[in-house]
């Protein structure tokens, strides 16, 4: 059994299958960018991508990820160290305060843009409704998603 995380394949023993995905990422792989805010799947801090869909890793078990691709916040940065355009947009738009919701927000935004490359502000708002933020009022996060979409589209055109 294999779980792929940020492009690396991890063999899984059957006994590990019951472990909560968020805890496996944090404790076994030391990928602590995935945060636990509520542990019941309502705050979105633990959001990761599972085969390009945003999911709550605190509600999933490791066996749910077998044979699938997991992307965590650590997997967003390019191999050359360059920030992903979504990350750059979060920095540029002032979308970060305490930062605890940020990894989950970035991944929810990523899932949106994979499916909807040119979202409206309303679509961006809908895409992060499962991610709580207590600091920002969400406005600059939505700014960042819109800005990221633009940056990604410009990059595509350049290529």
């Amino acid at each position: 059994m294999i779980v792929t995380v940020n492009g690396t394949e991890y063999p899984i023993e059957p006994a590990q299958g019951e472990k909560i995905l968020a805890l496996w990422l944090r404790e076994d792989l030391m990928l602590t960018g995935t945060k636990i805010g509520c542990d019941i799947g309502v705050c979105g801090s633990c959001t990761v991508l599972l085969d390009n869909k945003a999911v709550r890793s605190c509600k999933l078990k490791l066996k749910d990820a077998v044979g699938k691709n997991v992307v965590t916040i650590e997997g967003m940065v390019n191999k050359d160290g360059k920030l992903h355009p979504i990350q750059q947009a979060f920095v540029d738009c002032g979308a970060i305060q305490c930062g605890f919701c940020t990894p989950g927000m970035v991944l929810s935004a990523y899932a949106l843009l994979l499916e909807t490359p040119n979202p409206t502000r309303e679509q961006a708002r809908q895409a992060i409704k499962g991610n709580l933020c207590r600091c920002t009022g969400y406005q600059q996060i939505i700014d960042a998603i819109m800005c990221a979409a633009e940056m990604i589209n410009i990059e595509k055109e350049d290529n």
């Binding site: 602590t32 805010g37 705050c43 650590e74 920030l83 002032g94 305490c98 605890f100 600059q140």
Partner: protein, 759 residues
Amino acid sequence: MIYNSNKAKAFRNDAIAKVTGTAKYTDDYTMPQMLHAVPVFAPVASAKIVSINTQEALLQPGIVAVFTANDIPGNVYFGQIIKDYPTLASDRIRSTGDVLALIVANTREHAIAAIPCVKPELQELPAIYDPEAAMLPETLLLHPDHGSNVCNYHCVRTGDIEQGEQDSDIVIEESFVTSRAEHAYLEPESALCYLRPDGVLEVIGSMQHPFSTRRFVASTLGLKLCDVEVKTVPMGGGFGGKDDTAALVCARAALCAYLLKKPVKLTYSREWSMQESYKRHPYTLQYRMGLKSSGKIQFVKVRMVADGGAYCSVTPWVTWRSTVQCCGCYEVPNVHCDVYGVYTNNVFSGAFRGFGSPQVNFSIEQLIEIAANKLGISETELRRINMVKQDSVTITGQKLDTHTVSLQQAMDTVLREVDYKAKLPQCSYGDKQADEWYGIGYAISYRGMSLGAEGTDFNSAIINIQPDGSVLLETGIHENGQGSETAMILILAEELGIPQELIRYRFPSTSNIPDGGTTVASRGTLLGGGATVKAAEIVKQRLCEGVEASMGIKNCQFKDGKVYDVVGHEVADYYTAVKLCYSNQIYPYAFGVFQAPRVSWDEHTGHGDAYFTWVYGCQAVELKVNPQTGQITILNMIAAHDMGKAINPAMLAGQFYGGLTMGAGYGLYEDTPLQDGKPTISNYHNYRVLRSTDLPEMTAIFIQNPDPNSPSKAKGIGEPTLELMAPAIANALYRATGMRFNSLPLAKGVQEYVKGLKK
């Protein structure tokens, strides 16, 4: 100036770390041989502790130790004002947030599994949940040593209240009730403590106040302050909430680490956090206000009772701000104000962004509109007649002549931007024919900056310029997520005329810099920024001395990154000046202090210059109500605040949007109902924090009248942005429904009202 997100590029020193997941919060750290601690909470709100049996728990798998109050080497009780909070409950239970024991195990799972095995033997005592009942003389005392269930009392006696009554043409009386809001920071409390080889007990913790935490830890362990070092790591939100509880969590982890000589981590679950952590004080406020038919307020008589819960925490300070600001931002010649902070067996109340002003504003900003209605004067005109203006004297006798009083500017700006006059006629007032009800409302405030007369108010900064011209900066201010470190960097970059990239904010620790007080009261930029400017003045002098010693000249001046001689010729750039300092054995190093200007307070009369400067603001909201379901939709929110100077516009806007949102949540939904003193909320599924889809686009307007009392010219903004949305929504709901709702949270009242209409 309206903040435009397209024009500003944000800067934060911690943005890259936070957006890549490399920022390490307390629970992200782990250490070799680290053990895990968990708390065992009291099962009831009031009882005498006969014994706590830990034997069974100790036999469970993986359990290393179970500690109770008997194991505490230092003081069991601690507190910032009154030392009434037991780090572990020893003889008596006063609240369901009390912790009876700590279980330490090799894994967190093992520790949690053993919780039911700790068996307390208790004798239940009568519990008091109603603050009014708590104040009666026959009621059992929560803290017999204090002599009363009244934790504290403040008053204001200004003018002659009888005369005010006689001079009034109309008198109105209204009562208001406010809610017990939970901070709901995204990151639950966490602490990791270990005994270093040099004998220092080191604390990494999710807490707002490293120095306060150090006091808690040192007191619990019986250590000297220099033997405890609290380090600051990124914190997932505080909003005033990571003060006492977070410090206690650190003290408990420290206790385990100290006794076991091993690293111990104590990370709270959301459920524990909501059970133990203090909430915003619920108030009852009874107002009596008299006015002339011309609109001038003649008197205000007010009695406030704040439910402080089982422990003092900062109740005397929270209620003091309510006292000073009891009449809102209005001139009132005759005032009679009594404010009580009261002990009950409820979960305790403490600091929360706003700190005693949201409760008062919720009341007074409705009261002024109720009065306007009764007088047949527009609410805007009535505010204009009574609001504080340049050189006004506040109800505590303070003349507002040391800074620009911009209240009317803020109000006019918001009303113009929201097009208030044009929209007023569209309001529904509960129109029975309408499919949906529309309402618009606003509120205004002034807010005393920083601690005021509630505490000593000073802060320091250290600037240490390295031989290559790069700079290490630190201040006695804590990064709560608001961007304080970045603000300090930007202030210093401007002072020295160097690029911000040259400045690194040093990893903060309580062993680096003197205790600068707590990062509360919107004082971070004001006090820390002030200290940075003061230190910059000194270091600029050092740079001049380096050049002077080298060139044999005198009276140089440093300006915009360059050194000039006495006739104004440039003699050295920044890098040359730094080099010349080092070659002449002069350290370009400075320790700067900003001491807040004098404030005063007479506890008997409630008179004094309560705060050394004030900020002014206005917020407006448009909303609609579904007459069938009572569902409320916010359509628009606009805020204008005078913060003196915008240091970091993108982060400033973030404070606006975040404050508006938290204020709207407080106004509409947020509350912590209690069952036998215990919160019935446990997590985000039953405590409603506003989500992205609950919100409209918001507008942030910066008013910048540089403040001469602030070395950086900037004032605070964190709390002003939160304190107005609840009354603005209440006023909008009145214009939507035709009904006044005097209790928070407002959505509950609206739903009950709509349900009543259908019957």
